[in-house]
């Protein structure tokens, strides 16, 4: 193996990359765009919803429920209403966005065994999206309240082993600040794997398509030198991209990396290796840039978006889909990097994920080698 030859390939690859302004733009614009999208969503996060209450019951329970609402950061109490006739003008003048009406029988119904306690919410529907979000908030608030009451009953009745009901409604189209932090590792995963798989496979297939690969094959360059030379520039670019997103996350969303930077770097490197091997695999299978691009996007973008746990929690997927999620290395990276970034996990906590990533990489490496040997024989 010769460093000089690998260097020649790396330099050439960088030169081509830097000359392709359009591609560079996409490469760096794409993550910024995604991040911006989430940032925008956060700005639209509906907070401090002005709430007015008409408490006809005025019981301990009703006051408690109101307290739950206004103790969250989503609602602020702008006042109490005394008469029905005040409701309409309040909404019309947009003094408040939400009015809660507690009926007189709320606490008595609540206390009954098969009672039907009800609450009335009046939502300002001018902004449909906001109304929808408010709707979601109060539903989950009500469910939480339910849960609290139920456990309270259970405890009173001496039953302690009732499974604690844990409502975790997640509004992925409208993430809260916390959710965005949660999304950043997934975003990094997606950027890294798309950059690695698409760039590496395209750059290899381009040489096949244009016939320049023959010229390289006949030189003293061997396969390993060739692949190393191709991989290094894209690892650098992907890393740079990942770091940019991380920094943007710190600046925009107050993200703090709880765990070790070194461990994060190691995990990222292993993940990138998996992505690059996947890219090589694609280039072995595809003979034209178009086909390569299609396969690469299909293999990298979609699974890392849908199946990695990036936006849709894996736990809540049907069992069969949960198994399918293993096809993307992003799944393991997302889990591992979330643990490192958000929880400050150490090696032992993410050991399994790292092993999976390594196994994944080896699997595709072997597959790529086998297919290329078979193709060579046919050629």
């Amino acid at each position: 193996m010769s460093i000089k030859r690998i260097n020649a390939i790396i330099i050439k690859e960088f030169k081509q990359l830097l000359r392709d302004k359009r591609y560079l733009f996409v490469l760096f614009f794409f993550p910024v765009f995604l991040l911006g999208m989430f940032g925008y969503a956060v700005n639209f996060d509906v907070k401090n919803i002005k709430l007015a209450v008409m408490d006809n019951d005025n019981s301990k329970e009703s006051r408690e429920f109101i307290k739950t609402l206004i103790s969250s950061e989503y609602f602020i109490l702008s006042g109490y209403i005394e008469k029905d006739s005040d409701i309409k003008p309040m909404l019309d003048n947009q003094d408040v966005q939400l009015i809660l009406v507690v009926p007189q029988n709320f606490s008595t119904e609540l206390a009954k065994n098969n009672g039907k306690p009800s609450l009335q919410f009046l939502v300002d529907g001018v902004n449909g999206n906001t109304a929808l979000i408010i709707n979601n908030y109060i539903t989950s608030a009500a469910m939480n309240f339910n849960a609290k009451i139920q456990t309270g009953f259970a405890e009173k009745a001496g039953i302690t082993s009732l499974s604690p009901i844990n409502f975790q409604p997640r509004f992925w189209f409208n993430p809260s600040l916390e959710t965005t932090k949660y999304l950043i590792p997934g975003l990094i995963a997606m950027i890294l794997i798309v950059t690695a798989v698409v760039s590496v496979s395209l750059s290899l297939v381009r040489e096949k398509e244009r016939g320049t690969i023959e010229q390289i094959k006949v030189s003293s360059v061997n396969t390993i030198e060739m692949l190393l030379g191709k991989a290094v520039p894209y690892v650098c670019i992907a890393m740079l991209n990942g770091i940019l997103v991380l920094i943007a996350g710190m600046l925009l969303f107050n993200l703090e990396i709880q765990g070790s930077y070194l461990l994060l770097l190691l995990t990222t490197s292993i993940f990138l290796l998996a992505g690059i091997i996947l890219g090589i695999f694609v280039s072995v299978v595809a003979d034209s840039q178009q086909v390569a691009f299609t396969i690469a996007v299909f293999l990298s973008f979609l699974p890392s978006f849908i199946l990695s746990g990036f936006v849709f929690p894996i736990d809540s997927m049907p069992p069969i889909i949960q198994i399918i999620t293993n096809i993307t290395p992003a799944k393991f990276f997302v889990a591992a990097s979330r643990s490192i970034i958000l929880k400050g996990a150490g090696v032992s906590a993410i050991y399994d994920q790292l092993m999976y990533l390594i196994l994944y990489t080896l699997f595709f490496l072997i597959l790529a080698v086998l297919i290329s040997i078979k193709k060579e024989k046919e050629l």
Binding site: K12, K15, E214, V218, S219
Partner: protein, 307 residues
């Protein structure tokens, strides 16, 4: 001294035989022409000789190394300009040269010297920073040849280096090939242009993977054709050809520029018959009718139609 020795080389793709048991030798320092129609198996043969395609059977020694057992040594002793050779169009002249010098492991003063040489033969001195994609075809071809032999190999394989290049550039490209050969490099070249074959010291012709003729162009013209070629200059050439084709004394017909070539066994009696037929019966105007030395094209048409 032979710099290439090919023994019973065969390449099959599935059941399709692309190169069929061919054997030949190439002398050191000569320009060796490898001719054949589209799909005859030229590129396949070259790729095997360059050590990048494994033969199905047979072997060859290239620069003294076996393509089967020492493909890496073969690679390091040759230069190769593939048929689809495109330099990197998105790199500058300088960057292309640097890249190919780099992958051949050149460095230091030797590299600088060779870089200079490449720029010189491609007439690109002072234009190192031009994008390669913007160069005219002829210049690009010379640059491609330069980079293919930047490591100064003893043997160079050129797969249709002049296809798609204008005649003047082709001419000067051949001057370059001659120059390489004079400096002692063995040049193995394929071409579609038969007039270019005349510049080769030795030629082989393959058809459908089989070797059908070999020798110097003079040898080919005398050894492989034992009948006479008559060159006819007349009006309505195509029509005349259709008439003559039906005659039993005419073995082959072909059109050469504006003229008609027919091959016959007895040229004296044939000329009389042609005159009688065309001028007498069909009132063509024959301006010239001569027995000529066959061109390579006559030979190849004859051989391929026979095969």
């Amino acid at each position: 001294m032979h710099s290439i020795t090919v023994n019973n080389l065969t390449k099959k793709f599935g059941s399709f035989v692309s190169v069929d048991n061919i054997s030949f030798n190439v002398k050191e320092g000569e320009i060796f022409g490898f001719l054949g129609a589209n799909g005859a198996g030229k590129s396949t043969t070259i790729r095997m000789l360059c050590g990048i395609l494994e033969p199905t059977s047979g072997d060859a020694l290239v620069g003294g190394f076996s393509i089967n057992s020492e493909p890496d040594k073969v690679k390091s002793s040759i230069g190769y300009m593939s048929q689809r050779f495109s330099l990197y169009n998105d790199l500058t002249v300088q960057e292309n040269i640097d890249f190919f010098g780099g992958v051949y492991g050149l460095s230091g003063s030797n590299f600088r010297e060779r870089k200079n040489w490449v720029l010189e033969i491609a007439n690109l001195k002072g234009k190192e920073n031009l994008l390669t994609g913007l160069l005219p075809g002829g210049i690009k071809q010379r640059l491609a040849l330069g980079t293919a032999v930047i490591h100064n190999p003893k043997i160079v394989f050129l797969d249709e280096p002049t296809s798609g290049v204008d005649p003047i550039s082709r001419r000067s490209f051949w001057d370059l090939i001659n120059q390489l050969s004079e400096e002692g490099t063995t040049v193995f070249v394929t071409t579609h242009y038969l007039e270019e074959a005349e510049f080769c010291n030795n030629i082989i012709l393959i058809n459908a993977g089989k070797l059908v003729a070999e020798g110097t162009s003079e040898e080919l013209k005398t050894n492989y054709i034992n009948h006479k070629i008559i060159d006819i200059e007349c009006d309505r050439t195509v029509e005349a050809m259709e008439i003559l084709e039906k005659e039993t004394f005419v073995l082959d017909t072909s059109i050469f520029g504006n003229n008609l070539h027919i091959s016959v066994l007895d040229d004296v009696s044939a000329k009389k018959s042609v005159l009688a037929l065309l001028e007498g019966k069909h009132s063509f105007r024959i301006r010239k009718i001569d027995t000529i030395v066959p061109t390579l094209e006559d030979v190849f048409i004859h051989l391929i139609e026979k095969g």
